[in-house]
Symmetry: C2
Subunit: 217 residues, 2 copies
DNA sequence: GCTGTTATATATACAGTGTATATCTATTCG
DNA sequence: CGAATAGATATACACTGTATATATAACAGC
C-alpha cells in the first residue's frame, strides 16, 4: 500500500505515522526525560489508544530505535575543515551537543541496548581521519570506541544532576538506617564545574595520545 | 536497638539483614542481569514477602546503592607498585574486571543514577598518582572522569552481546515495516574482537596523552 | 509468668509498565 | 454495491515499585 494514503485530512482518524509518532516521542523525552516515554504517554500525547501505536512500531524498542535514528541522522558529523584533530573535535563535539540538546537520548538508547544504524556515522568520520594519517583500520575503530565512550559518558554526566530523594524515601531511610551510611546519589561536581572545559581537557588528552601513536608509526 | 539482636538462629524468622539481602541481590544480577533484580524476585529468593524488604531498605534505589557499595568496596584499587602509569593501569584494570565479573553492575547503577560512596576510591588513586607528578587537582579530577568514562563504557560494551529480538516482535516487524529499515540491535563487534587488547590500546592512548600534559607542565 | 513496646513480616491495594488477543470501524478495491 | 483490509479500540495479563494497615514475634520491665 502507498504510504501517503493516510486518510487525507480527515480529522476523524488522527494522522499517525512513524514520523509523527517519533516527533511526539522526542517531545516527551525532551520535556521530561527518557523515563517519560511510555507507550501510554505517547498515545495520550497524540490522542489515541495505546495499542494503536503497535500498528506503526513493533515494540517499544522499535520506537526507541526510530527516535535514535532520527536524532542521529539529523546531525552532521563530518563538518571539520582542518586537520584530523579538527575533524575529530568537530565530530565528537557534534555528538556531545546532540546529547546535550536531547538529554534523554543516551539513557533511552542504553535503556534497551539499542544502537541505531546511523550511530556509526561518527565511526566512519574517525576511521577516515585516522587512516589518512596511517593508522590501521583496527586501531582506528578502537580509537573510535575510546572517543565515543568518553563523549557519551561526559554528556550523560553533565545532563543528569543529582536526582532528588523522594520525600517518603527520605523519611523511611531515617527510620531504617540509624546505622550504616545510606545510599549516595550521584555526587554532583562542584556547582561551578565547567563541563565544556572539562570535556575539552579530556578530549585534548586523547588527541595528544593519538598523535603520539601516529608519530610512532 | 542493638543490630545483632536478630532472633538468634530461630528458623521461624528468616535471618534477613542488609548483608544477606545484598548477597541474594548480587546472586540475582550475576545470574540474570540487572533487569532480574526486582523487589518481588529478591523477596522470593530469600523466602519472604516483598514488603518485608522495606524494613531493611528504604527503596529499590537504596538496595541498588547497597549492592554497588558492597561490590566496589570488595575491590582494591590502589595496588599498583610501579610508577603512576602502573598505578592507573592497576586501578582501572581492577574497575574493569569488577564490571566484567558482575556484568549487571554498571547497568544497575546507571539505571537509577546511583553512585555509591565507595565509587570514588578510584578517584583518590588517580588524584594521588597524578598530583604526585605535578598535575593540578582540577586536572586530576578531569582525568579521573576521562579514565572512568572510558573504562565503564568499554566494560559495558563487552558485557552486553546483542540482545535477541523477542519472537513476536520479529513477526510483527515483518508485518509493519515492509518499508523502512527496522531498528538495529547493538551491533556486535566482529566475533574475534579482542576486548582486552582494545581496552589496553585505548588506555595506552590516554596514558600517553597524560604524559604529554605532565611533561608540558 | 504476664504486659506493654518495639521490630519485623504480612496482606491488600494502587498506579504504573509493555503488550497479547479479539473486536470493531473506516477506508479502499473489484 | 459488497468484500477485503488497514488501523484504532477494548479488554486483559503479568509485571513493576511501594503506600497503608494489620498481624506476629521478640524483648524490657515487673
Amino acid at each position: 500500500m502507498d504510504r501517503t494514503t493516510t486518510t487525507g485530512n480527515n480529522p476523524r482518524r488522527p494522522d499517525l505515522s512513524r514520523d509523527n509518532l517519533v516527533d511526539a516521542a522526542i517531545g516527551l523525552i525532551d520535556r521530561d526525560g527518557a523515563g517519560a516515554l511510555s507507550i501510554r504517554a505517547l498515545a495520550d500525547a497524540v490522542g489515541v489508544t495505546p495499542m494503536a501505536l503497535y500498528n506503526h512500531f513493533s515494540s517499544k524498542r522499535d520506537l526507541i530505535a526510530a527516535v535514535g535514528e532520527r536524532l542521529i541522522r539529523s546531525t552532521q558529523f563530518d563538518g571539520g575543515h582542518g586537520d584530523w584533530r579538527e575533524q575529530l573535535r568537530y565530530c565528537f563535539g557534534a555528538l556531545r551537543h546532540l546529547c546535550l540538546r536531547h538529554p534523554g537520548l543516551p539513557d533511552l538508547l542504553k535503556l534497551d541496548g539499542v544502537v541505531p544504524e546511523a550511530a556509526y556515522a561518527p565511526m566512519d568520520v574517525t576511521k577516515k581521519a585516522l587512516q589518512a594519517q596511517g593508522m590501521s583500520e583496527l586501531d582506528s575503530v578502537r580509537t573510535f570506541f575510546l572517543l565515543t565512550g568518553y563523549t557519551l559518558s561526559q554528556a550523560a554526566f553533565q545532563s543528569h544532576p543529582t536526582p532528588a530523594l523522594a520525600p517518603t524515601e527520605k523519611v523511611r531511610r531515617e527510620r531504617i538506617s540509624g546505622r550504616g551510611h545510606g545510599p549516595v546519589d550521584r555526587r554532583d561536581p562542584p556547582p561551578e564545574w565547567d563541563f565544556d572545559a572539562s570535556f575539552s581537557f579530556g578530549l585534548g588528552i586523547i588527541l595528544e595520545g593519538i598523535e603520539g601513536r601516529i608519530r610512532a608509526r
